[in-house]
C-alpha cells in the first residue's frame, strides 16, 4: 500500500474529524494518566521499601545462640548454646565462603550522661565492619569505629542520629558533637561520629538511630561480658544462602557439639530472604496497582471502540462512496485502525507527559514527612513508559480492529443508500 495514500486520505480525514475525536482523546488521556501515576507510585514505594530493608544491612544473616532440642554425642537436649568472641575467627578460618564475620555485644539500660542530660540507653559493642554490613555510616565531620580503636580498646563512642538529638539537641552541629565527652555508666568516652540518617524498617534489639556503639574489645574489657549477643555474617555468594547456613550449623555444631540438623541450636535471621519476600510482595502490589490502572485504561479503550462504531455508522455512506471511487477494503480497514491508534497514542502520550510532570513535581516538592520517607516518591521509569506504550498500542489496535472490520465489510450499494 502506497504510504502517500495513508497520509493523504487517512491523516486528512483524521484532521477533519477533530471535534469527534476530542472526548475520546480525553478518556484515553485520563486512563493513561491513571495507570502511569499508579505504576509510578508503586515503583517509588518498591524502591523506597527496598532501600528501607537495606537500612538494617544488605546480604547479611544474624545469628543468636539457641538451645539444643535433640541429644547429641552424649549431651542431652535443652543445652544453651552461647556464642563466644573467638567464634568470629573460628568461622573466618573454617568458612571461606563468608565474606565478612563479626560479633556484637549488647547491653540495655546503660546510664548515658552528657552535662546535665541523663538517659538510659542501649550500648552495643561492635566491629569496624559494621560500617558496611550494618550501614553504620557517619555524617560528615565524624567517623565510625576503626581497627585501631579495636586494637587499643579505646573509649570512643559512635552515636545514632536520634540519640545525638536527645543527648546534645537538634541544633548542635555534628562537628561540635564530635570530640565531646559523654559518660557511659560513669566511664568517659569521646564521641567520634554520628550516624548518617537512614531509613530502617526492621531491627533486633532496637532501632540503630538510638544506638551508642563502642569498640567490641572495649565493651568486653569494661563490661566483662563472656558471650557475644549475636554474630553477623555476609556470604560471598548471595544466591547460596541456604547452603551457607547449613555449613554454619555443621561448623558450629562441630565446636559446640550439637546436631547440625538441630535448627533450634542456633537462631538465624536471613535478611536476604526477607528482602526477597519484601520485593515479591511489593512487586505484587505494583502489579495490582497496574491492573487497576489497566482496567481504567480498558474502560477508555471501550470508549474508543464505541466512538469508532458510532463514527463508522455515521460515515457508512462515506465508506460506500470511497468504495465506489475505488477504495479497497484494506484502505477502509487501515483508515479506521489508524484513526483508533491515532486517538489512543495522542491521548496516551499527552497523559504520559502529564503523569511525568506530576511525578517530577511531586519528587521535587519540599515536603518533609515520615510517611513519605516510608512510601518513597513516585518514579516514572523507562520500563513503565515502554510498558504503557505497548499497552496503548495493543489497545488502540484492537479498539479499532473490530469496528474497522465492520466498516470494511460494508456492502457499497447498501452503504450508498444509507441515510
Amino acid at each position: 500500500m502506497n504510504p502517500s495514500i495513508i497520509y493523504n486520505v487517512f491523516v486528512r480525514d483524521f484532521q477533519n474529524q477533530k471535534k469527534r475525536m476530542f472526548l475520546t482523546l480525553l478518556a484515553i488521556l485520563w486512563g493513561t494518566l491513571s495507570i502511569m501515576i499508579l505504576l509510578a507510585f508503586g515503583e517509588g514505594l518498591r524502591k523506597q521499601m527496598l532501600m528501607n530493608t537495606k537500612g538494617l544491612g544488605e546480604g547479611i544473616v544474624i545469628v543468636w545462640g539457641g538451645q539444643t532440642s535433640v541429644p547429641f554425642q552424649g549431651f542431652g537436649k535443652g543445652r544453651r548454646i552461647h556464642l563466644h568472641p573467638e567464634d568470629v575467627d573460628y568461622l573466618k578460618r573454617r568458612m571461606p565462603e563468608l565474606e565478612i564475620v563479626v560479633g556484637e555485644y549488647t547491653r540495655w539500660g546503660a546510664e548515658i550522661r552528657y552535662g546535665k542530660k541523663l538517659l538510659s540507653e542501649r550500648v552495643d559493642g561492635v566491629y569496624p565492619e559494621f560500617e558496611t554490613i550494618r550501614n553504620f555510616r557517619a555524617q560528615m565531620g565524624g567517623r565510625m569505629i576503626n581497627k585501631l580503636d579495636m586494637e587499643q580498646k579505646r573509649r570512643v563512642a559512635y552515636v545514632g542520629d536520634k540519640l545525638k538529638e536527645r543527648l546534645f539537641g537538634e541544633e548542635m552541629p555534628v562537628e561540635e558533637v564530635v570530640g565531646k565527652t559523654i559518660y557511659i555508666n560513669s566511664t568517659p568516652y569521646t564521641v567520634i561520629g554520628v550516624m548518617a540518617h537512614k531509613m530502617q524498617d526492621s531491627s533486633y534489639g532496637g532501632m540503630d538511630q538510638d544506638v551508642i556503639a563502642i569498640p567490641a574489645t572495649t565493651f568486653k574489657a569494661i563490661f566483662g561480658d563472656q558471650w557475644l549477643d549475636d554474630l553477623i555474617y555476609k556470604p560471598r555468594d548471595l544466591d547460596n544462602m541456604a547452603a551457607v547456613e547449613k555449613r554454619l550449623f555443621e561448623v558450629m555444631g562441630a565446636k559446640y557439639k550439637f546436631d547440625p540438623d538441630d535448627d533450634r541450636a542456633l537462631s538465624t535471621w536471613d535478611i536476604v530472604e526477607q528482602s526477597r519476600v519484601t520485593n515479591s510482595i511489593l512487586f505484587g502490589i505494583e502489579i495490582f496497582l497496574g491492573i487497576i490502572g489497566g482496567l481504567t485504561l480498558l474502560i477508555a479503550a471501550v470508549g474508543v471502540t464505541n466512538i469508532m462504531y458510532v463514527s463508522i455508522k455515521e460515515r457508512t455512506r462515506e465508506i460506500g462512496v470511497k468504495m465506489a471511487l475505488g477504495a479497497r477494503r484494506i484502505y477502509i480497514l487501515m483508515q479506521f485502525i489508524i484513526e483508533a491508534l491515532g486517538i489512543t497514542f495522542l491521548g496516551g502520550f499527552i497523559g504520559m507527559a502529564i503523569a511525568y510532570i506530576v511525578t517530577e513535581l511531586f519528587k521535587r516538592a519540599p515536603i518533609e514527612s515520615e510517611v513519605l520517607e516510608m512510601m518513597g516518591r513516585p518514579t516514572v521509569s523507562l520500563e513503565i513508559g515502554i510498558t504503557v506504550t505497548i499497552i496503548l498500542g495493543l489497545m488502540g489496535f484492537f479498539a479499532g480492529l473490530f469496528p474497522a472490520m465492520k466498516a470494511a465489510s460494508v456492502n457499497p450499494t447498501e452503504a450508498l443508500r444509507y441515510e
Binding site: 502506497n2 502517500s4 495514500i5 493523504n8 486520505v9 486528512r12 477533519n16 474529524q17 455512506r317 462515506e318 460506500g320 462512496v321 470511497k322 468504495m323 465506489a324 471511487l325 475505488g326 477504495a327 479497497r328 477494503r329 484494506i330 484502505y331 456492502n411 457499497p412 450499494t413 450508498l416
Partner: protein
C-alpha cells in the same frame, strides 16, 4: 464495452427472495449515450450497480471491455471502479468536510497518482466542468448544480471510458439539470460511454438509445433497438 448474458440478480433476506433482475441480455458499444428508464423497482439501479462493478450478479456472465468481471476478487473490482468507471449519483455524495479539490482528488489518490500529476489532473477536470475557481470551497458553499459538476469532475478524474449516472438531475432544478445533461453530451462527444438513469422523458430523449426496464427485465426487446428510440 459491455456484454451481459443471462444476467440475474437475486436478493435473499432469509425470509424473502426477490429477483431484482431476470435474464438480462445486453450489449453496449464504445461511445454510446444511453438512458435507462422504467418504473420504480424495475431494477434500474441494480443494473447500473452491476455495470459499475459495485455489485456482482447472482447468475449469468458480465464482460467489461472484453474481460469477464462477474467472478473477480473484490480488490480487482475496486480497481475497475477506480480506473474504468466514473460514478455520478443523484445525491452527489461528496465528502462534506473536504474541499472541491480534495473531493475530486480522491480517486486519483486511490489510483496512486503522485502529487504533482494529481494537481494537474484535478485542475484539468475542474476546468472541464467550469469550476476551477471553486477549488477551495466546501460542498456546503456550492449550489446543487455546482455540487453535481464537482461529482462529474470526480468521476472523470482517472479518465474512465464508462460514465454511469444514477438520476444525476433528480435533485436539481430544470435549468441546472439541463446543464448537467449538456455536460454528459459533451463527454459523449469526447468519446466516453455515458449511461444515465432518469425519470425525465425529455432528458431521456436527449440520449441516443433508451433501455426500458420493467419487473427486472428489458422491456424493449434486448435493448439493442435502433439508435434513436424516442419515448
Amino acid at each position: 464495452m459491455i456484454r451481459m448474458k443471462e444476467i440475474k440478480k437475486v436478493y435473499n433476506t432469509g425470509k424473502v427472495t426477490f429477483e431484482a433482475l431476470r435474464n438480462i441480455d445486453l450489449d453496449i458499444q464504445d461511445n454510446e449515450f444511453i438512458a435507462i428508464v422504467g418504473p420504480s423497482g424495475s431494477g434500474k439501479s441494480t443494473l447500473m450497480n452491476l455495470m459499475g462493478c459495485l455489485d456482482t450478479p447472482s447468475g449469468g456472465e458480465y464482460q467489461l471491455e472484453g474481460r469477464r468481471v462477474d467472478t473477480l476478487h473484490p480488490n480487482q473490482l475496486a480497481e475497475i471502479r477506480n480506473k474504468k468507471v466514473g460514478f455520478v449519483f443523484q445525491a452527489f455524495n461528496l465528502l462534506p468536510y473536504a474541499s472541491t479539490y480534495e473531493n475530486v482528488e480522491l480517486p486519483l489518490i486511490f489510483a496512486g497518482v503522485k502529487g504533482r500529476d494529481r494537481k494537474r489532473r484535478v485542475i484539468d477536470v475542474l476546468t472541464q466542468v467550469g469550476l476551477s475557481d471553486k477549488m477551495a470551497n466546501k460542498p456546503t458553499e456550492l449550489s446543487g448544480g455546482e455540487m453535481q459538476r464537482v461529482a462529474i469532475a470526480r468521476a472523470l478524474a482517472n479518465n474512465p471510458k464508462l460514465i454511469l449516472a444514477d438520476e444525476p438531475t433528480g435533485n436539481l432544478d430544470t435549468k441546472s439539470g439541463a446543464e448537467i445533461v449538456g455536460i454528459f453530451e459533451k463527454l459523449w462527444n469526447d468519446g466516453h460511454t455515458v449511461i444515465m438513469i432518469t425519470h425525465n422523458i425529455n432528458l431521456a430523449n436527449r440520449c441516443r438509445r433508451i433501455i426500458k426496464l420493467k419487473d427486472g427485465m428489458i422491456d424493449n426487446g434486448n435493448g439493442n433497438g435502433p439508435p434513436q428510440t424516442r419515448l
